[in-house]
Amino acid sequence: MSPTPTRRRVEILAEASIEALIRLCGISAILFVFGIFFFVFREGSQFLFHGFNFREFFFSQEWYPTSQSHVRYGVLALIAGTASVTVLAMALAVPFGIGAAVFISEFCGTRARESLKVTIELLAAIPSVVWGFIGLTVMNRLIIQLFHTPIGLNVLNGGLILALMSVPIIVSIGEDALKAVPDSYREAALALGVTRWQLIYRVLLPAAKNGLLAAVLLGVGRAVGETMAVLMATGHAVTIPTSLMDSVRTLTATIAAELGEAPVHSNHYQVLFIIGILLFSITFVVNLAADLIVRGVRRQ
């Protein structure tokens, strides 16, 4: 017995429409990325094309958005703030993250590996506002006591918090990269009588170089884009830092701190959206680079 023709037509129609829906959802990610760029650009575009001074924006460290007579929108100090905490965070997170990745992939048994990976996964889940709170309370007090500074909200604090936040991503991607190194490399090296040190430095790290680089780039992307933790942990000083004990303000924190007070569609408001475009572009390039590197690794 075959189904009646009408029923079949309904079924074919239903199948076609569900496929169309699936295709639409499939391209949704592209739509959203363009949508994000479009709407952030749209809010800032009026000022961007009328009266926006590129030179002042990138090369002046004077950020006086609410001044009556001397309005300046220079983000050099904010860029320096973002760069300083990111560089410090990476200086701490890269060696420890890769060290931990090596330990997990080369020295652990199955059991220890699973439990360490679970722990690190849980650490990655800690919300950024809780990290900020840790910076504000625990780290702040530790830094004041250890370094005898009046305020513990500074580059060091922000860098430490960001390092702890980006370590999980470096560990998990780095471990994947090390796992991808064929066992025959290890066996060949061990057969030649190398020590573990030589195996790691001369064989594993060079072989997994690209994957590790991608892991570091993703860590950088995370650190540059992080908002709440640095907003709470770095203090609020729009200056170019000269030491680890200086307070700074990052690009992200500036948007978070000032958007609420800037009148909608004022120049100040639009400049904050232009900073958003800048951040979007930076993370876009960093993620693109990481993705290309990872893909290159896979093709090998």
Binding site: E15, E19, L21, I22, R23, C25, G26, S28, A29, F32, V33, I36, F39, V40, E43, F96, G97, G99, A100, F103, E106, F107, V118, T119, L122, L123, A125, I126, P127, S128, V130, F133, I134, L136, T137, L164, V167, T195, R196, W197, L218, V224, G225, T227, M228, M232, T252, I255, A256, L259, G260, V264, F273, G276, L279, F280, T283, F284, V286, N287
Partner: protein, 295 residues
């Protein structure tokens, strides 16, 4: 004849041990302080944690009382963003894994997913403000904030669903096609039921991500203070603004002077505790599935 340890093998053995110790130390230096910090937060919050704390509104300019209003706000934001993001994310993953061919277009989609995951949360906030609050005219509301959160957490669902779908062996699909089933029938009756656990894991992770985010909701729907009827789970409406746990923690620890010390610790622990519990659930589900898998 027994094996004699020569000075050379002894020194090699020592270097092995040293390598092991150094890398173990590096791992522990990362993990242990963090566990200590989390333990410290729980220790500080312990005196204030009670059912009363969960079910009363903040009082006295947020210097006393509990966290009912922000807690319910967070639940609303998470549930609504979940309802929006899950179907889109699952279907997007179905497209990528079941329909898309290996070509440049698929590469572009995958690249977009990776980039969507990498967009800073504050840029999502700007997008939500520009697109949902102003352009779509939703105003600052739970709906606008949930939409922003949904887009932000979409890559989490896409990635884990894709992984779950690709774990279903190809012969399952081929068997189904061979008895005359269409693509969608195969997906609906064979692929999705066999990967439901993995999809569930992604959904759970989305919940934990959405619950912790602060920046995206700050300008799209969350407010500093709003009192609601205590004990009424339907106290918020879709177009209302709401409080949220993450934003509340930010507010009472930086914006309000003279808050009793235990209050922000209590809020932090409730937020952290629920996020970690939800994540632990995801890990548990994953392990259960792995041990039960039949193929």
């Amino acid at each position: 004849m027994t094996f004699q340890a020569t000075p050379f093998t002894r020194s090699k053995h020592r270097s092995e041990l040293a390598a092991r110790a150094v890398f173990l130390l590096m791992t522990l230096l990362m993990v242990v302080p963090l566990l200590l910090i989390v333990a410290y937060l729980f220790y500080q919050a312990w005196p204030i944690l009670s059912l009363d704390f969960l079910f009363t509104n903040p009082r006295n300019g947020m210097r006393a009382g509990g966290i009912w209003s922000p807690l319910l706000g967070t639940i609303y934001l998470v549930v609504i963003s979940l309802v929006i993001a899950t179907p889109i994310g699952v279907l997007a993953a179905v497209f990528l894994n079941e329909y898309a061919r290996e070509n440049w277009f698929t590469r572009v989609i995958n690249l977009a997913v990776v980039n969507l995951a990498g967009v800073p949360s504050i840029v999502h906030a700007l997008f939500g403000l520009g697109a949902f609050v102003l352009f779509a005219g939703l105003g600052k509301s739970i709906l606008a904030a949930s939409l922003t959160l949904a887009i932000m957490t979409l890559p989490v669902i896409i990635a884990s669903t894709k992984e779950a779908l690709s774990a279903v062996p190809m012969p399952f699909r081929e068997a189904c096609w061979n008895v005359g089933a269409t693509r969608w029938q195969t997906i609906r009756h064979v692929v999705l039921p066999n990967s439901i656990g993995g999809i569930l894991t992604g959904v759970i992770l989305q919940v934990s991500r959405a619950a912790g985010e602060t920046a995206p909701i700050m300008f799209t729907g969350a407010v500093f203070y709003k009192a609601i009827r205590e004990g009424d789970p339907f106290a918020y409406g879709l177009r209302d603004q709401c409080m949220a746990l993450s934003m509340h923690l930010f507010t009472i620890s930086t914006q309000v002077p003279d808050v009793p010390k235990a209050l922000p610790y209590g809020t932090a622990v409730v937020l952290l505790g629920s996020v970690l519990a939800v994540n632990a659930l995801a890990i548990f589900v994953r392990f259960r599935l792995r041990s039960r898998r039949k193929w």
